[in-house]
């Protein structure tokens, strides 16, 4: 069973061809990691699925075509997005950030489970999000996505720019979330990928060059060179 | 469609016809009325071109261009009337003052960009309007403006019979402006301007200071606007606050957008068309037959801004690139049809 299926996705941004026919599947209830060097089009792929850039080809969420729909409709149909650089609203409080994202009417349960994952957000609910640390901001960004019932979670480099201790924290959270949802994760940290991912897609120059299980990723030098990833902090 | 090798000689021919037409009595351009209208239209064509250098070539949406034009009008008029310097030196000083002003205002407002820049230049432009309206030190004549003292300029510019000399002066000023801007935009600095408009970061990466180039474009455009302001003073015979109004800048914007930015001739044509159409429409609505149209239609139509505003909105919505842009699109189409 596949939740998301991308077929022959081509995307041009300002006349430059970024994605050259990307095709892959994201299996249901598994964490799929999207890997590749910087600039090969991983973020663009994620953002195109979210409807930020127009493209040609096909993107289906549970069998329904979503390519060409406006971003907010794609989100409403069950794709939650945790962007690179977090993009939380720094002039709003933590609580306001969360209530902006929450779509359901009676979502006390959702808040409870999110505060269960991130107790810090509960205690800092009235604090301006801009005054939080990088790790806390990442928690807000992930919590926003978890407040709603989603078909799939698209997460873009959640550990980028975080201190090693926080990387571990975010990894713990992702691992916990991983049991409950389908996830497409762009990540450069190989250790984290090996820990949470059950399926791996590798991209190069706007194309998919490998799909398979994470066991195929050894610590061999070619992997590091091909992916441009770090071995993680141990 | 016209091929390049034909369009240049054709342009030269057109200029030649425009230049000699006032010498012969048999054509409309032999009469002072149309000569005056066209002289003013040429000046607006030139001004539109100086605005195109900012808006089209450098990507600066300035709403304060009237300031530099009005500086040209007022400074030269004040210097001539008070007999401080001869008329030609007055024109040069006006250009220098305008450049200096552009340098100062530009240095402050270029700290911002995009839409903020537009607002800030608008504010500075309005300050100019306020100053001439207030008649500080009795220099600018307040709301009435100041009449040019005709005894201190060459007599060939005075009197209805001499309108043709004003016509030629305006045409010469337009050609001068065109040549300078052609030279600036085709030079290496001009290519930087274009690159700035398309991608500022790329220019920065090349190690060029983008602010300096923007400021240069700002100053050149102001100096030329001041020169055209001096000629406008000769053509209009007075310096009036309407030259400093932000409406001037908005008209220039309309001219460039209607004619099409970045093509140079588009801006000139837009300026000439706009000025000519405004003048003619006012004449037309003075006629008896026009007064028979019911007021609720006739009233608004008598305002040139209605039709020009509507044309402008339609062009922005449906034909970006204006008239000249549409021309090049057609030409591109014709070319691609020829090649299979």
């Amino acid at each position: 069973m596949n939740t998301l299926s991308v077929k022959d996705l081509h995307v041009k941004i300002n006349e430059s061809h970024i994605l050259h026919g990307v095709s892959f599947e994201v299996p249901t209830n598994k964490v799929t990691a999207l890997l590749g060097r910087n600039g090969v089009g991983k973020s663009t792929t994620l953002r195109s699925i979210m409807g930020f850039y127009p493209g040609t080809g096909s993107v289906q969420l549970n069998g329904v075509e979503i390519l060409g729909k406006p971003t907010y409709k794609i989100v409403q149909s069950g794709a939650a997005f945790v962007p690179e650089d977090r993009e939380i609203f720094s002039s709003l409080t933590v609580k306001e950030n969360l209530s902006l994202a929450a779509r359901g009417k009676n979502n006390e349960k959702a808040y409870e489970s999110v505060y269960g994952l991130f107790p810090e957000l509960d205690t800092r609910a009235q604090q301006l999000a801009g005054s939080l640390s990088g790790g806390q901001q990442q928690m807000v960004a992930i919590a926003r996505a978890l407040l709603n019932k989603n078909e799939i979670l698209l997460v873009d480099e959640p550990t980028k720019g975080l201190a090693p201790k926080l990387v571990t924290e975010v990894a713990d959270v992702l691992a916990r979330v991983a049991h409950e949802t389908t996830m497409l994760l762009v990540e450069q940290n190989l250790a984290l990928v090996k820990r949470v991912a059950e399926h791996v897609i590798v991209m190069d120059q706007g194309r998919v060059i490998f799909q398979g299980g994470p066991e195929n990723l050894s610590d061999a030098a070619w992997v590091h060179q091909m992916l441009g990833v770090s071995g993680g902090h141990k | 469609m016209l091929r390049w090798k034909y369009s240049r000689p054709l342009l030269a021919l057109l200029l030649f016809v425009l230049a000699i037409a006032p010498l012969f009595a048999g054509n409309p351009l032999g009469k002072p009325g149309l000569q005056q209208t066209m002289a003013v239209a040429f000046l607006w064509g030139g001004l539109a071109l100086t605005y195109d250098l900012l808006f089209g070539f450098t990507g600066l949406l300035s709403f304060g261009h009237a300031l530099y034009f009005a500086t040209g009008v007022y400074v030269s008029c004040i210097l001539i009337n008070h007999q401080v310097v001869p008329w030609w030196l007055a024109a040069l000083i006006a250009m220098a003052v305008s450049s200096l002003l552009a340098f100062l205002v530009g240095a402050a407002s270029l700290r911002t960009s995009g839409i903020t820049f537009a607002m800030v230049t608008l504010a500075f432009g309005e300050a100019g309007h306020v100053i001439v309206n207030r008649n500080f030190f009795n220099l600018t004549g307040g709301e009435n403006g100041i009449a040019l003292d005709a005894t201190h300029i060459p007599q060939i510019w005075i009197g209805v019979v001499n309108t043709k000399y004003i016509y030629w002066t305006a045409l010469a000023a337009l050609i001068f402006t065109y040549v300078v801007i052609w030279w600036v935009t085709e030079s290496s600095a001009g290519r930087v301007f274009a690159a700035l408009r398309d991608n500022e970061q790329r220019v920065q990466v090349l190690g060029l200071n983008t602010q300096h180039f923007k400021l240069l474009s700002f100053v050149i455009s102001a100096a030329l606007a001041a020169l055209l302001g001096f000629v406008m003073l000769i053509a209009a015979g007075s310096a009036a606050p309407r030259f400093a109004d932000s409406g001037v800048t908005i008209s220039l914007l309309l001219m460039v957008v209607i004619g099409g930015a970045v093509t140079r001739w588009g801006a000139v044509l837009g300026g000439i068309f706009y000025s000519f159409a405004s003048t003619r429409m006012q004449d037309l609505t003075q006629q008896e037959s026009f007064k028979k149209i019911p007021h609720w239609i006739g009233g608004p139509i008598a305002e040139p801004a209605l039709l020009l505003g509507l044309i402008f909105i339609l062009i922005v919505m449906f034909s970006p690139g204006g008239l000249s842009g549409a021309y090049y699109r057609l030409r591109l189409k014709a070319l691609s049809h020829k090649k299979p």
Partner: protein, 293 residues
């Protein structure tokens, strides 16, 4: 001392008028990136519709009648703003320069239509008679209409603040000013917030139009001119997208302008431009504006 109070309160009254224009300009720019040159026409449309309502009541109006004229004028301007947004602005989505250009076109066309129909002469606005009386504040005789401007502006400021702070759409607007793409990415159609902001901005400008025509002794298609420009200056000084910033800057400019004009006629406008240049040099994002990431 009384002249001091008089000039101060007149300045605040003038600032209140600037704020009514600037609050809408600031939100529209902050949320959508649209530099709205049509805002002056919203003001004029509000003034004319308000004038039409008020003159139905006779040569002078009672206070409730005047308030009615103000509200109807505001609503008409709000609906007109909504129409412009739906008809023109949304079709040029994210083309900011073209959006600004189109609003320039709108202001020309509206000016031509109103000028063609009604001429450019001032028409006396029917107001309650007590507007012409003076109120004693600490020995200074304050023209009563100033108090109306200040009260209206305060009411709209509070209303604006409450809407932004306590409603869902207000939350969406505040978030959208910061990052409208991310609002979309949370499953919210941010365009609804655009329409709301245009309507509200138009409403405030329309109410402002009625008050401006009282202040300038009458209605004409030309009354908006200098207010739009002062509105822009207020927005730049206060900080784009910040309503409290607009309020602060509007009051500051109103007061400074009145005092400067008192000492040297015509100096006020000049001082304001110097102030603008100063703010840009020291704090280019404005007093309460945020640096956009």
């Amino acid at each position: 001392m009384d002249t001091f109070i008089l000039i101060g309160i007149t300045g605040i009254g003038l600032g209140a008028l600037y704020f009514l224009i600037a609050s809408g300009l600031s939100l529209i720019y902050g949320l959508m990136g649209v530099l709205n040159f049509a805002h002056g026409s919203f003001l004029t449309v509000g003034a004319f519709v308000g004038f039409w309502v008020a003159s139905k009541m006779g040569a002078e109006t009672s206070m409730p009648e005047f308030i009615l004229a103000m509200i109807v004028g505001g609503l008409a301007a709000g609906l007109f703003a909504l129409l412009i947004e739906q008809l023109l602005i949304t079709r040029l989505y994210e083309r900011h320069i073209d959006q600004a250009l189109v609003t320039v076109g709108v202001s020309l066309v509206v000016g031509a239509l109103l000028g063609g129909w009604f001429g450019n002469d001032l028409r006396m606005f029917p107001t309650p008679l007590w507007f012409l009386t003076a109120i004693d504040v600490g020995g200074a005789k304050i023209p009563a209409d100033r108090v109306v401007y200040i009260a209206t502006a305060l009411l709209l400021l509070v209303g604006n603040w409450a809407l932004l702070k306590f409603t869902r759409i207000g939350l969406v607007i505040r978030a959208g000013v910061e990052n409208r793409n991310m609002v979309n990415a949370l499953g919210i159609n941010v365009k609804k917030a655009f329409s709301t902001v245009f309507f509200l901005g138009g409403f405030a400008a329309g109410v402002g139009g009625v008050l401006v025509s009282v202040y300038s002794n009458g209605v004409s298609p030309l009354i908006a001119g200098s207010y739009l420009i002062y509105g822009f200056i207020v927005v730049v000084i206060g900080g784009m997208g910040s309503v409290p910033g607009s309020f602060l800057a509007a009051m500051l400019i109103g007061i400074i302008r009145q005092f400067a004009n008192y000492y040297v006629t015509g100096l006020g406008d000049f001082v304001v431009v110097i102030l603008l240049a100063g703010v840009l040099l020291i704090k280019p994002q404005g007093l309460l504006g945020k640096v956009k990431a």
